[in-house]
């Protein structure tokens, strides 16, 4: 009797172990979803496309992982499953994830001063790595570019005065606030992190570090990360991954930094990613900043930014509609690449329709 019970217990254990799917060289396919909810999602994400006027919602790729299996993917325009698509500012969260591996190696602490790793920041001696990860450097940075191209720090950094050495260009900015006090979204902050990583892991390892630390352990075979002339990764903007590979990063985050039986990111690192920044004020941005990831949390007295998605949703977001959504409670990872040139695309709408089509319908 006792023996029988323990046998059943062992069987149950092995069942749960087997129920956890991980991608190998490819994602394994999950149960196919069809029906009117999926139709509604496709109508929203894939309206007739015009590559001349570039108007409207222009989804390049939409891919859904549930319980570690690929249950939906569709591509449009020139993008295919093999296209390493520009992620724009999703790169920022990727850099945070690369840093998380270095953090797991014990190479730095969140409260370390950045100047320790990047001497040009001795002009701002109190600035910490945590401040940069919160986009709270206090540097007087102008992220806006559509409306103020003359004074846009981003345009100058990527294309004119700053492109040879983006971190130095950022470090030369003055301050408008003390570090760690106020949120101001800044591509410069991310590139300072990228420059700091050079000393954190050593110049020797740096050039391959995103691949050896993160991409290869996850089975990502086709990643591009452009650098400036100083060899610093343009962590603000220029990482390229296929939709299938970006979803691997999503699954890593959905499972608290664990990949298979390896805890690639320490749990306290992921907890930091998921913790809203206390200095954030209502409506400063489209979502709530955590540790270089975006959160769907009520904060600063305002309801959560995407009311139709669960509060545990986190996201990496980029220019022109790039998005990686992670919904751990639903075991969902959604990659959406786009080329939206207007503001029509809405995260909440996509999430609402995707949850209707894919959430909680079948459990393995």
């Amino acid at each position: 009797m006792f023996k029988g019970l323990s046998l059943i217990f062992m069987l149950l254990l092995s069942l749960t172990a087997r129920a956890e799917n991980w991608p190998a060289e490819q994602w394994s396919p999950g149960p196919t979803v069809t029906g009117p909810a999926l139709q509604a999602l496709e109508n929203y994400a894939f309206p007739p496309r015009d590559d001349t006027t570039h108007q409207g919602i222009r989804t390049d790729a939409l891919l859904v992982i549930r319980d570690g299996q690929l249950i939906y993917e569709r591509y449009a325009g020139p993008t295919t499953a093999q296209t390493p698509h520009l992620t724009w500012s999703i790169s920022k969260s990727l850099m945070a994830t690369v840093l998380g591996v270095a953090y797991g190696e014990g190479r730095f602490k969140l409260q370390d001063k950045v100047a320790k790793f990047y001497p040009p920041l001795q002009k701002h001696p109190d600035l910490t790595l945590a401040d940069l990860l919160h986009w709270a450097s206090g540097l007087d940075w102008q992220e806006d570019y559509e409306y103020a191209p003359l004074n846009s720090s981003v345009v100058a950094m990527l294309y004119t005065r700053g492109h040879r050495d983006m971190a130095t260009f950022t470090a030369d900015h003055g301050s408008y606030a003390a570090p760690g006090q106020a949120f101001r979204y800044s591509s410069g902050d991310t590139n300072l992190l990228s420059a700091a990583l050079k000393a954190i892991v050593g110049a020797q390892r740096y050039a391959d570090y995103p691949w050896t630390a993160l991409f290869e352990p996850l089975g990502i075979r086709q990643a591009i990360w452009e650098t400036d002339a100083a060899g610093t990764f343009v962590a603000s903007s220029y990482a390229y991954l296929t939709a299938r590979d970006l979803a691997r990063i999503g699954l890593l985050m959905a499972r608290d930094g664990r990949w298979g039986d390896q805890q690639l990111l320490p749990k306290d690192w992921v907890a930091f990613n998921r913790e809203p920044f206390a200095g954030y004020r209502a409506n400063q941005d489209d979502a709530v900043p955590g540790g270089h990831w975006w959160l769907n949390r009520a904060a600063a007295g305002v309801a959560r930014p995407w009311p139709d998605a669960p509060a545990d949703t986190l996201a990496a977001l980029g220019h022109w509609g790039q998005a990686l959504y992670v919904i751990p409670g639903e075991n969902l990872v959604i990659v959406r690449y786009g080329d939206d040139r207007d503001g029509l695309y809405q995260h909440n709408e996509l999430l609402k329709l995707a949850l209707k089509a894919f959430a909680g319908t079948v459990k393995p």
Partner: protein, 107 residues
């Protein structure tokens, strides 16, 4: 000065505006000097990555980087994967570097 203002109010106002404009130009001289580079540098870099990193076809990539400002020159050397673009009196070049590093503005 106040006598001048009373006798020639229009000219005085224009003079003040001119001085303010010159002051602004001086203050913004670095940004203003860099400004004309934006269109050619943006086009060269983003076309290079569209074409040789994302591997999209040339026609799509020309549409992808199209802005409302006209270009005066565009060459895509498919052998060296080198893109040179001119516009607003400036010229910029981007080049594909490698499998991991993609494209970069040069110099």
């Amino acid at each position: 000065m106040s006598g001048l203002m009373r006798r020639r109010p229009i000219s005085s106002l224009l003079l003040i505006l001119l001085l303010a404009l010159l002051g602004w130009v001086w203050q913004e001289r670095v940004a203003l000097w860099a400004f004309p580079d934006i269109i050619s540098a943006y086009t060269a870099k983003e076309y290079c990555s569209c074409r040789y990193v994302m591997n999209n076809d040339a026609g799509y990539c020309r549409g992808y980087v199209k802005q409302w400002l006209p270009l005066s020159g565009f060459t895509d050397d498919a052998v060296s994967k080198r893109i040179t673009v001119s516009g607003m009196g400036r010229s910029n070049m981007a080049v594909w570097i490698g499998e991991h590093q993609g494209c970069r503005l040069n110099p």
